[in-house]
């Protein structure tokens, strides 16, 4: 039984999953995506949220960015950042937003659930001032 026929596919599976695990650990990637078979090990990326704050107006409520609303480039970047929670991804998203001289901040939040207390909360995963 030739080695390639027998082991190429399992080795490919392990190689792809190793890259995915590295990206999850060091790049903020969602466990649900990328061939690591990490579904149901954390909240689905659709539960993550991206908010835009105007830093010069701390009292103004932040706006939530959606992957279904806004210009196509922004929607694509939002969809990507929901799955890749990193400042670099937020930088790409910021580049698609309308220019504004006032400082702003993009934040990615994800839900958390404490089964002991029975409480749902959110934590800020990463942010980018621009």
């Amino acid at each position: 039984m030739p080695v390639a026929q027998r082991w190429l596919v399992p080795l490919l599976l392990v190689a792809v999953a190793s890259v995915q695990l590295a990206r999850v650990s060091f790049g903020g990637q969602s466990r649900w995506r990328g061939g690591g078979f990490g579904m149901y090990s954390e909240f689905h990326p659709s539960k993550n949220q991206i908010w835009l704050r105007a830093l010069a107006r701390p009292d103004a409520p932040p706006g939530r960015l959606s992957e279904t609303e806004g210009p196509p480039a922004t929607r694509r970047a939002v969809a990507r950042c929901l799955r890749l929670r990193s400042p670099a991804c937020l930088g790409e998203l910021a580049a698609t937003l309308p220019r504004d001289p006032a400082p702003r901040r993009l934040e990615i939040w994800q839900p958390l659930f404490d089964p002991r207390a029975g409480t749902l909360s959110r934590r800020r995963v990463t942010a980018l001032d621009f």
């Binding site: 089964p115 749902l120 909360s121």
Partner: protein
């Protein structure tokens, strides 16, 4: 009078793989490419021997790789799984040992998928909280928890509370209490551990005991429970196809268990695809036959 004869195990397994492949094309390619790719996949099993031609499976695997490379963050894991299966069917050649090679690859793919699922859960700090949230809001275990009216009411209330909370502006330290019974944390932890134990057992059985009845009982049970608690119909179909590929390695009646699961899951998956954003729903929408959800 013509007598119906059961298809050979390998033809049965290849047909299942092609049907799952066709639906995965429809799901992951835009209109009309998904349907164009699915068409030959649906025709192949009826031709004399094309379904076991390595070149056919090689081309299907190549087509699978396109969305994996162009949209890796957006494609589902069952597309990865299908790619591995198509590649294994290509590499198995057309010789005498094809069935054994396919089964060997299928059980290593299954073992890899289950071992990775366990590893990801062990590495995730949010895992037990996520399981608790899913139970508390009816995300899964609803068929079990939702029997009593009180439990169903709590699940609905919790889902509404969670949706309302998550729609609000996020504030550090803000929390939303959900309605959970006393001892809920232990129940959630037990469910979380139970999932890991079953998936770990399946990985071990796929490696060491794939030809034993125990493997098919545990795996068949896992697939049935998965189908009852979550509507992951295409992933369920892909997993059932793996079971069929394993069961077809030698004469065994267990293959009919996977055929039955596929007979339920595949039409349901096709119906779901017809209504969700996919090349099939685009085509049906254009023809005025189905309104997309």
């Amino acid at each position: 009078m013509m007598r119906w004869t059961a298809p050979t195990p390998h033809r049965l397994a290849a047909t299942a793989a092609l049907l799952v492949q066709a639906l995965i094309f429809v799901e992951n390619f835009p209109f009309p490419w998904g349907l164009l790719l699915a068409a030959p996949a649906l025709v192949l099993p009826w031709t004399a021997s094309a379904w076991q031609a390595p070149i056919a499976w090689g081309l299907l695997a190549l087509a699978d790789v396109v969305p994996l490379l162009t949209r890796p963050l957006f494609v589902p894991n069952h597309l990865f799984l299908m790619t591995y299966v198509a590649l294994a069917l290509c590499l198995a050649g057309a010789g005498e040992g094809r069935g054994r090679l396919i089964a060997a690859n299928a059980r290593w793919i299954l073992a890899g998928v289950m071992a990775l699922a366990v590893l990801q859960k062990l590495l995730s700090v949010d895992y037990s909280g996520f399981v608790g949230f899913m139970i508390a809001t009816g995300g899964f275990a609803e068929p079990v928890l939702g029997r009593g009216a009180a439990a169903a009411g709590a699940l609905t209330d919790n889902a509404a509370l969670a949706a309302h909370f998550l729609a609000s502006v996020p504030v550090d330290g803000a929390t939303q209490a959900l309605r959970v019974p006393a001892g809920f944390a232990a129940y959630a932890r037990g469910a979380a551990v139970g999932i890991i134990v079953v998936e770990g057992a399946l990985a071990a059985l796929a490696i060491f005991r794939p030809d034993r009845a125990l493997f098919h009982i545990v795996y068949g049970g896992f697939l049935i429970v998965l189908g009852l608690v979550r509507s992951e119909l295409l992933f369920l179909s892909a997993l059932a196809m793996l079971g069929l590929l394993i069961a077809c390695a030698r004469p065994s009646r267990w293959r009919w268990l996977y055929v039955v699961i596929l007979l339920v899951a595949l039409p349901a998956a096709a119906a779901r695809l017809a209504r969700s954003p996919s090349s099939l729903s685009d085509a049906l929408d254009r023809a005025g036959l189905v309104q997309k959800s």
